[in-house]
Amino acid sequence: AQSVTQLDSHVSVSEGTPVLLRCNYSSSYSPSLFWYVQHPNKGLQLLLKYTTGATLVKGINGFEAEFKKSETSFHLTKPSAHMSDAAEYFCAVSDSRGYQKVTFGTGTKLQVIP
């Protein structure tokens, strides 16, 4: 079985300061991991994904995430927050055995304070 835990339901940062959104996963097989962003009343947009290879993954809008197998984590970071980063972020996991389902976390709402 696969599962995802997003450790914070809300995160608040000041504009220009670093962002850290935490995600832990559980998977019986080699996982694929995703971060999606959702702006108000919109669908989900893929920020970045880890499938195989390099464990530090770079995504759009300056975000990156590091796959740490020993810690079963896939935290999302950004060096400097912009006002436009205010949104809800979802971590997701899918195992690699060909099963099509993806399991999503409950989301982290990021507030950026001017």
Partner: protein
Amino acid sequence: DVKVTQSSRYLVKRTGEKVFLECVQDMDHENMFWYRQDPGLGLRLIYFSYDVKMKEKGDIPEGYSVSREKKERFSLILESASTNQTSMYLCASSSGLASSYNEQFFGPGTRLTVL
């Protein structure tokens, strides 16, 4: 670019009505999904389909049914809408190729209110 479209952005229905939510994707994807999204609960899978006329129950299928008559179209049906089905409904699709690693592409969502 992959495009997933949903028939309505906002929908208001009355209790007991039959409701159809339509989703269309243009990337020839094998897999299609319906989720509902509620505050604090994240995305919960209602049904998914991995081929035309095939469907599988997700985590919360009660009160819903689906139809997939064509590869590009996946419909969610609320047989008799109830107020506890007021929610945001998201459709997604993914390729059946192993190289896709199950990455899903989402539509803009339908916010359904049942009065």
